[in-house]
Symmetry: C2
Subunit: 729 residues, 2 copies
């Protein structure tokens, strides 16, 4: 009560015509908010005294026709005011502090500190008497802010035409970006100056089964930038729920980004109802690139976990019937016997199988055997259910049946066999973006999973969205992804959604969202290849929002050896592939290659067997976007550590100390590194494995090849005999 | 085998350049089909030697961009041929006969004869090598035909731009029509010449919460017409599944109707995949209006029942908490306490109730008591679930929760109480046309119904459809209605869908589709009133496709007595209201008025108590669209008959004989008729009830007032004592 009184006093004392200042707990980040002479909200951000965001406007524009007031009946204003960006006065400012440490269900660290100073500014639009709150949270690692609409009589239902949030940059920064697109995020990153985006934009738009650009200077978030004086700035959003996903559109004369929300089919950007809040807009800032990677701001801006019993949510390492279809060695489909298939009409027991189907009972058992032998938790099988013959390109509504296996996939026998081997099956629900078809079958599909004890589902959204005209990241479809996750939670099912909207930390609230793709994954190494520095950028961009099911572990980089008609090359060394299990944080990690490829390199494969998927601690040791990342992680509930380093096109010589280890202990480290002549293109399989003793005083200088890297497993020595023949590092 | 050989011979012998003739079993209907010199399919229809359909073209136009061929990958033709209406040659003609009698699960008669001659013409489009079959079925009461696309290599997926089916009339017929509309069917009928439609069209478009016209000469089906020489022609469709609903657009210079399919949001009219069939186009023809009403052609053109066990499908007579909200006496909603409600956020146990909520436990119990006392099967309750505060006008996606009752609706107690009284509760699912919201909750909602033993659901689709831009009758949404019915069948739930697409006989295949509204129902008597002849037209139009939940039984016509601010008048006499239970065939019949109104007229109410809802036989005795209908029906499994007569604006003096009764029996008939001075407007509650003895020789001449009618219950005399004091008719 006393606290409340104090707050009220502070509020009343503030001179509302004056700018409001908010500082981060350590004082490095400073936000200034003001309302200008025409009532426009404006903010700036500085970091260690340097401008990060120059004066930038805030607000929304509404659709007139939908701008209805609440009453006994629907009243439409004749000339409704569509601006929610001007004519404002400040009527209240509340400043508070928050400091809490919470424990994620799974994560990079056991504890996460959520520490910020907050300022909630209540604005009143004078001519309409509408209220809007802008809530700023300033952390030591950056800024989050969002628009909030309290319940009020003059604004109940409203439709957003555009959000007008600006991020005014101070200069022509280096940006690590992919082109804005309403339907795909699966682009290779471009490193360029902001001023170069316009020219390069279209070139950066590689082909995809569904893609929709909107502006020559449009880019996606999370957008990583670097200023000429070495400050790293990351723009993204947090808690994207019930709204279109934010893109950024650049005014490249003034270097001002403005929010560009993904529209629904009818061009609207958000149907809103007060009380409501929009997603957080985030600006992570540091002069140390490692702090960008270590930031928990996105998670912290999400709501705490809404699942009471989380005991069934368990990180998983898995193998699967997948890479063989991706490379073209086998197929998802079952038959070529008919010109097209119709669910419920085509009798798959009567058609002639083409003999190239991957998801056969016998083949699946081979993967189950491999998983059991090497201690993997799960086996994913794609192509198990009917519909794959026509799975994309036909705008087919009832494209998949999520309950009926192909005749050669014996779901009962596979369930029995997997159970007998102690392996869990991972379900696959490719929707071909026919979202209604999936929702209509969702309960039945999840019930089937419960019946056959599948703890997790990989869902997919390839191709154009149905309902036709919708895109992959609009409010309408974002609500579907969220619906799928929340319904899955009711069935105690973990979700790994591919081609879904990029994550924004929602896994804090719904930790059964155990993974997402939402970027260019390993599959592109079989679709022509990705840039060798791709994996040095993903942690700065895509992973800011949450873990990625990147599906690493490719040991055979020459794809034509698998399928002679596929000339793709996996642009990565084998050691780099190992390092990804550490550098690409995810509670879900696949060993994507074939068992027979792993069997050729069992000494290297040992790292994949050993590496953890859940962590008590993570230390980012080295980082530069596009160049290199080195991280050490402590496996959950153990004293074992794993280190990963990945390098870009130029390679990198890493220098690390092991000071993260306990002071009084000796550890056995196995270092999986590129051989001297290794190269992602010409000699990717050249690696060395060496075992050494390390302590917290040890240091390592380790070169990584172009597109290379290294991985280290570090086990606490429990028996002196283990050290026999091992030298100190 | 012999038969097949014969057919093949016939096929081969036909000169394909010649016209093909098909006759109905009795020879009255004759169809001629030919392909003209540019390969356009053309048909004509005559009835008893008179032209009914003049030469009319058939075919479809496709969308170019979506006109994809099947192959290993999606191939788009550079200049695909979009016509499926010309360049055809006849490659095969198969003629067959069919004669079968089947038993509906419920219906107007115990047995239905399905007797037709069929001609299936296979057409090949020369330049594309695409095949299309046009299948004609000629019944004694009319023609059905449809387009079929067999599986073939040159046509797998295709998108309809427009269907080009013509119905060329022979002159300026009288038509009984409502304006074409993608979103509502709830219009009063206009009787006019075809040439007058253009002028009247907009005037015929009364206000509705969702409406979308498309043409000044567009009308809906079923369209009833009458020629100057007394032939009745009815145009409609049968088995509308997976396609847009057909409207008719009139070329009013030449009196040629052309099909106009309801488009999806993106303007497409049907995404199709071969093998597939389109809905049947129907032309019912007779020189006796009674034969139009007695026609079973629409049902016969649908597939046989697809539900194995139909024992749970039972016709019902019901009362409900409904008319009080329709008239404005009480409300669906619970509170005015908040400017808007949010499902999952608003705590309804904490808001202040407005005290006008209809669906309270106490009020529902009153209806249960009334139902139990008078032998009704069920009680419908609208407004039981949260969300009604904001139920329309806000384009609100998550508008209703179908699982959570308002705090004053005790679902457990109501379940217990209804069960103790032997009454079934009828569920209500108003969706506000937020179709996704309903589909997302459908399994849970149906499971709740199973839990609480609700055998039937009334669903509603008020307001604009969500997904936004879709309409009420497009392929996309029609698939939803069908999905809801088929899923309901899995849960053994009967469906009564309001505002859904007009029925097309699908209740043969899915007899759990126990009712539909899909026209202007009794509610409009409290929304300003309907024309007094409306109920003499509905059986000729809306009921051609299936039963209507018309909700008759209004005894208090002065709505202002219920709600002083509602000046509506129910344009019907009380006797007319009774007759509707017989003239408006439905396996689901409501007694819609308040218990206290029935209690004022218990002698008249007796008819509603007595009347059956399922029948072994039906005899249409008199009929003229817009003027009068008289029908006698024999109650299922009994020897009792019920007669109903309704009259239009002019009144009518009915003359009937009772020759439908058994020859050797005496019956006690209770005649509920308009009093001499009765009138729908000035004196609607003036009625007489008289009891007489009748045999199969009896005749009755009975005047019906303007907007009036009469009803007769006829019970077989089982005890001589019953006749005491009764005179012969």
């Amino acid at each position: 009560m006393k606290k409340l009184f104090l707050l009220l006093c502070i509020s009343v004392m503030i001179n509302y015509m004056m700018a409001q200042e908010l500082k981060s707990p350590n004082g490095n980040q400073v936000l200034i908010f003001s309302v200008n002479n025409v009532g426009e909200p404006v903010y700036t951000l500085t970091y260690k005294g340097k401008d990060i965001i120059k004066p930038s406007k805030l607000g929304l524009e509404l659709f007139a026709s939908e701008n209805v007031k609440f009453g006994a009946e629907v009243k439409k204003e004749k000339e409704p005011k569509t601006s929610l960006y001007d004519d404002f006065k400040v009527v209240d400012v509340k400043s508070t502090s928050f400091d809490e440490t919470w424990q994620p269900v799974w994560g990079e660290t056991k504890d996460i500190r959520n520490h910020y100073n907050e300022m909630a500014v209540t604005l009143n639009q004078k001519s309409t008497d509408r209220n809007m709150i802008i809530r700023f949270r300033l952390f030591d690692d950056g800024l989050g802010f969002r628009y909030e609409f309290p319940q009020q009589k003059n604004l109940a239902y409203f439709v957003v035409k555009e959000e007008l949030t600006q991020f005014a940059m101070t200069g022509d920064h280096i940006a690590y970006w992919i082109p804005g697109d309403y339907d795909t995020q699966e682009y290779d990153y471009t490193t360029s100056k902001l001023s170069e985006i316009r020219v390069i934009n279209e070139k950066g738009r590689q082909g995809n089964l569904s893609q929709t650009g909107f502006s020559e200077t449009g880019v996606q978030t999370s957008l990583q930038m670097k200023t000429s004086d070495g400050i790293y700035i990351n723009l993204h959003e947090a808690a994207l729920i019930n709204y279109g996903c934010m893109h950024l559109n650049l005014d490249d004369k003034n270097f001002v980004f403005q929010s560009w929300i993904t529209p629904d089919a009818n061009g609207t950007k958000g149907y809103l109802q007060a009380p409501c809040t929009l997603p957080w807009r985030t600006v992570i800032v540091s002069d140390d690139a490692r702090e960008i990677l270590a930031s928990n701001m996105t998670l912290n801006l999400n709501e705490p976990c809404k699942i009471d019993d989380t005991s069934w949510i368990k990180p998983m390492k898995y193998v699967g019937v997948w890479w063989e279809m991706i490379t073209g060695k086998s197929e998802w489909s079952y038959t070529y016997d008919v010109p097209s298939v119709l669910i419920g009409v085509t009798d798959f027991t009567k058609v002639k199988p083409h003999g190239r189907h991957g998801a056969t009972t016998a083949n699946v058992k081979k993967y189950i055997d491999f998983a059991a032998l090497h201690g993997f938790d799960g086996v994913l099988v794609e192509g198990w259910n009917i519909g794959w013959e026509d799975w994309f390109g036909h705008s087919k509504d009832f494209v998949f049946d999520f309950q009926t296996p192909y005749p050669d996939f014996d779901i009962d026998e596979i369930h029995r066999y997997a159970k007998s081997k102690g392996v869990k099956m991972i379900m696959h629900h490719e929707t071909s973006s026919s979202v209604r078809n999936y929702e209509q079958q969702m309960d039945a599909a999840y019930q089937l999973m419960n019946k056959y004890d599948y703890p997790a589902v990989k869902s997919g959204y390839v191709g154009d969205i149905i309902p036709r005209g919708e895109s992959h990241y609009s409010q309408w479809i974002n609500k579907h992804y969220q619906f799928a996750v929340e319904k899955a939670a009711k069935y105690k099912i973990m979700v790994n959604a591919h081609e879904a909207v990029r994550p924004t930390g929602i896994c804090r609230t719904w930790p059964n969202l155990i993974g997402n793709e939402s970027a260019r994954g390993t599959e592109y190494q079989a679709f022509g290849g990705s840039k060798p520095n791709h994996v040095t950028l993903l942690p700065f961009t895509r992973l800011i929002g949450g873990p990625m099911d990147y599906t690493p572990g490719i040991f055979e980089m020459n794809i034509s050896k698998i399928n002679p008609s596929n000339t793709s090359h996996c642009n990565s060394t084998l050691a780099n592939q190992l390092a990804l299990y550490v550098t690409m944080y995810s509670p879900l990690q696949m060993a994507a290659d074939f068992p027979e490829h792993y069997e050729r390199f069992m000494d290297a494969f040992q790292f994949i067997k050993d590496v953890a998927v859940d962590w008590d601690n993570s230390k980012y040791l080295e980082a530069e976007p596009g160049e290199y990342i080195t991280v050490a992680r402590k496996a959950k509930g153990t004293n074992n550590w794993f280190v990963g380093n990945v390098a870009g096109e130029k390679g990198y010589t890493s220098s690390i100390t092991f000071d993260f280890l306990d002071a009084d202990k000796t550890y056995i480290a196995t270092i999986y590194a590129d051989a001297k002549d290794a190269h992602y293109k010409t000699n990717p399989q050249a690696y060395t494995v060496r075992k050494v003793l390390v302590t917290n005083k040890s240091k390592l200088t380790q070169p990584s090849a172009p597109g290379g890297g290294y991985a280290i497993s570090i086990f606490e020595m429990t028996d002196k005999a283990q050290t026999k023949g091992l030298k100190k590092l």
